[in-house]
Symmetry: C2
């Protein structure tokens, strides 16, 4: 589970770097589909991860509204603060948390039960999906997107080293 | 790991259904970014999963070229055949396979080592990323995309039931 969060955090960071090299008006320009703009998509990714994982931690999240972090530097700072708050839970994840249940009220006011494992995977998939959307918009404005490859990121270096007997 | 493959297979199937309701020329129309068309993206998703997992199985994949399955019915059949071949490996996944190493030759002819855990997560993230791209194209042609939510799909029904003591 941790590896997929680390992957998302790497990719997200590379998108912040990408944003720093892009025209500012392209970042907030309204686009078709998804969350509507590049910067708002990145905000939404941070927001959704922070919200669900705070729920699993039993903490009250201290949100910042989009209007108050609607540039790359501020959003990056907000993302770093959110990540610092949730990281202990992600790093402390154990398989026996899988079947714990979070009870959450949805937008229609109904109470729903989710297993912790369901929430964790939802958060992972949520970010990857939205990053896929950014990659299309990136090409539309003529810029190369951040690579989405999970392999060749050094995320599994230790695992490969530990199995040296198989290496070339 | 299995849950994320099941999620991808559900979503993929819903995209095939979506394709059946779409104008055929929209499916093969060349688009900006990603793999260039909706149908080819779905082919690419099937192809990449089949290729990597066959590698982990030590099997020689029996590919079908895109030209030979370039409509929804044929691609669905090919996807079903590929999935049937790889499903035993996915269903039989155990954590102690994580650090096994696959040695693979890349496009530049260099040999690379990957842990099985790295490959599995790469395949999962690969599909979710490309599905995100489809969701943008879907809105561009004025159609509602398949939901990408991982929650509320019934994937964790058993886990919730087993923890009945927490339920409302």
């Amino acid at each position: 589970m941790l590896k997929l969060f680390e992957y998302n955090w790497q990719v997200r960071n590379e998108w912040f770097n990408w944003c720093e090299q892009a025209d500012e008006h392209e970042l907030t320009k309204e686009r078709t589909g998804g969350m509507g703009s590049i910067l708002y998509t990145l905000y939404h990714i941070v927001d959704v991860e922070y919200s669900w994982i705070s729920g699993l931690q039993g903490r009250e999240p201290q949100y910042v509204q989009f209007e108050d972090c609607a540039d790359v530097r501020k959003l990056r700072e907000y993302a770093a603060r959110c990540r610092a708050e949730i990281a202990p839970f992600i790093h402390g994840w154990k398989d026996d948390l899988e079947t714990n249940v979070l009870t959450d009220q949805n937008n229609e006011g109904e109470w729903e039960n989710f297993s912790y494992g369901e929430i964790m995977r939802h958060v992972i998939a949520h970010e990857i999906h939205h990053i896929g959307q950014l990659s299309i918009w990136s090409r539309e404005i003529g810029k190369k997107p951040v690579t989405a490859n999970l392999i060749r990121r050094g995320l599994f270096k230790e695992e490969i080293k530990a199995e040296g007997k198989h290496s070339l």
